[in-house]
């Protein structure tokens, strides 16, 4: 009897020890990179065979997909979705299945199922993968036009994609297109939106190419700079449209309103251009030594002229080639930005 009691006590002590170790090991497992989501979202019924089973299902899926031609019956599409669902249950990190499945289900007439699958993937790898939310946004935009919340959903997905490092520049442009839909009739808001995009695409430097100490380069490399420039052109076009409308307006109140809007847009453009040399009226760029705007003929602030002898200085000039005097700082152009490592072609 004494022996039994000793053993029972020993079991209790060891169990207490075991619970402690088990808790510690479980915590380590959850924190282990690559295990956390598997632990939280993986379906337990696969007892360690999940990844292998997912391979089998993946191969069966590929066969099934190959046998489908055209738009299948809804039942077939649903069966396909179930298999994608099971495959991603078995291996929650199988990004290929989310990507292929989401797009495929949408294109065969089941956008909701496609979105369901993509949402599942976003829940698992959404913080590192921009493709899944981007695909989801495309599906919502293209296939869910009847949904009154489609734009809001697409915007949400694109914003999610934008949060992921390494996302391509077209995520930003897609987001602008969606954001712009609701404010198309307000030129000032549109101008501000394009300014925001231009600044974001071109880095802190925005469109300011002048000055030896510019801000950091665009995160999108040459595409970012180009897009940033395009954003500025868009705002200039908005200004032209507003001015044109103001010129044509016969109602004085309407004319006054449009002029006020034009003034606000001018401020936006000035912010965007910084110290870049552009006509203060039409914002066309002009060259060193120009006294009049090449676009509208108005007087412009002359730059790049030697203060000693009056010779016109070219770009990147530090000293006047005629008299040797130091060139004004404004005439020193910043070298062309280097291509960022993550720039997408």
């Amino acid at each position: 009897m004494k022996d039994v009691i000793v053993r029972v006590i020993l079991i209790i002590v060891l169990l207490a020890l075991f619970v402690g170790i088990n808790g510690g090991v479980s915590d380590l497992l959850v924190k282990q990179e690559g295990m956390d989501v598997a632990l939280k979202q993986g379906k337990s019924m696969w007892v360690g065979l999940g990844r292998w089973m997912s391979h089998i299902n993946w191969m069966l899926l590929l066969q099934k997909r190959a046998s489908i031609s055209g738009k299948p019956e809804p039942a077939v599409a649903e069966a396909l979705h179930r298999r994608y669902d099971t495959t991603t249950d078995q291996d929650p990190y199988l990004v290929l299945a989310y990507e292929h499945g989401g797009v495929e289900l949408a294109t065969i007439g089941q956008p909701k199922l496609g979105l369901e699958l993509l949402d599942k993937g976003i829940g698992v790898v959404g913080d590192t993968n921009w493709k899944l939310p981007s695909y989801a946004a495309q599906i919502v935009t293209q296939y869910c036009k009847d949904d009154p919340n489609a734009e809001a959903k697409a915007k949400q997905y694109l914003q999610q994609a934008k949060q992921v490092d390494g996302h391509p520049f077209y995520i930003e442009s897609a987001l602008v297109r969606i954001q712009g839909k609701g404010i198309q009739n307000d030129p000032v808001k549109m101008a501000k939106l394009w300014k925001e995009v231009g600044t974001r695409m071109g880095g802190e430097r925005g469109l300011d190419q002048e000055g030896a100490d510019g801000g950091p380069e665009s995160a999108y490399g040459e595409y970012g700079d180009r897009y940033s420039k395009q954003a500025c052109d868009k705002v200039v076009n908005i200004l032209r449209d507003v001015r044109s409308a103001a010129d044509k307006a016969t109602d004085p109140a309407e004319k006054k309103k449009l002029e006020a809007q034009a003034n606000q847009i001018v401020m936006v453009i000035k912010d965007m251009m910084g110290s870049q040399h552009a006509c203060s009226y039409c914002f066309a760029e002009y060259q060193a030594g120009d006294k009049f705007c090449p676009n509208c003929g108005r007087d412009v602030e002359e730059f790049g002229v030697c203060t000693k002898c009056g010779a016109v200085l070219g770009p990147n000039v530090k000293f006047c080639p005629k008299c040797g005097a130091s060139a004004p700082k404004q005439s020193v152009r910043k070298p062309a930005p280097k291509k960022a490592p993550n720039a997408k072609k």
């Binding site: 079991i11 090991v25 479980s26 380590l28 295990m35 360690g48 993946w58």
Partner: protein
């Protein structure tokens, strides 16, 4: 200690004499080798496929070997072989420890054969170079299998073969499932209750290797310690049950 080792050796030898084991190992190695043939069918997953297949097969072999504990004890009881063994000056506890160690040995041998086969085959196909992470994952799979063998020892002392095997598999599945519940629950009490069960989730660490991750040594150490403590608890429980068993 020698008598324990003799029992362990006898248990291992008896399993090693089973032709089914060699057949199983040969089939498993062939299946792993066939993984190389899938190539393009997996569309971008061929490398991972071979490794996951290898891990899955190693685990299946390990589990099958561990389940030997579930039917070996009841069979010896039924065939009265145990009577002859226990009539010698050998404690019942020692007998159980010997059985357990024998099964651990045979499980280790079988898993080592399949594991080495997997490493060689994937390396030959240029898919995965043998690395320490694979070894760590295999150690954790082995730890989980040993825990299952310990469960089997307890169940084998008072249940029939089929029932003990079935219950061991249910425990295996249930503990695995509850491991996920423990990771998600906010209830400390529920978590502690779940932590009383064996931890089979450690064998899921092959996910980390397949994704190119690194398994922490702390986790490997924890897994080994956990298995040792759990096995000890199960052996004491089995001893308590077995000593009351009438085997005459």
């Amino acid at each position: 200690m020698d008598d324990v080792m003799v029992i362990a050796q006898n248990t291992a030898s008896r399993v090693l004499r089973m032709k089914a084991l060699y057949f199983l190992l040969a089939i498993v190695i062939c299946i792993i080798a066939s993984g190389q043939l899938y190539g393009d069918i997996t569309v971008g997953r061929e490398k991972e496929y071979s490794l996951d297949l290898g891990f899955a097969m190693t685990m299946i072999v390990g589990v099958l070997c561990a389940l030997v504990t579930c039917f070996d004890l009841p069979r010896e009881l039924r065939e009265k072989t145990m009577v002859a063994v226990l009539s010698k000056p050998l404690g019942r506890d020692r007998y159980l420890i010997g059985k357990f160690l024998g099964v651990c040995e045979i499980t280790l041998i079988s898993m080592a054969i399949v594991g080495v086969g997997m490493l060689v085959l994937t390396a030959m196909a240029g898919q995965f170079r043998p690395n320490l992470e694979i070894i760590k994952a295999l150690i954790l799979v082995y730890c989980a299998v040993v825990q299952l063998a310990a469960v089997g020892i307890v169940l084998g002392t008072f249940l029939k073969e089929w029932l003990a095997t079935l219950l061991a598999l249910v425990t295996f599945w249930g503990s695995y499932a509850l491991g996920y519940v423990a990771a998600n629950t906010t209830s400390t009490i529920l978590q502690k209750i779940i932590y009383l069960l064996p931890n089979f989730a450690i064998m899921g660490s092959d996910n980390v290797v397949a994704r190119g991750g690194i398994i922490e040594w702390r986790l490997v150490g924890g897994g080994v310690l956990l298995t040792a403590v759990y096995s000890l608890i199960m052996l004491i429980v089995a001893g308590l049950i077995f000593r009351r068993k009438d085997i005459a």
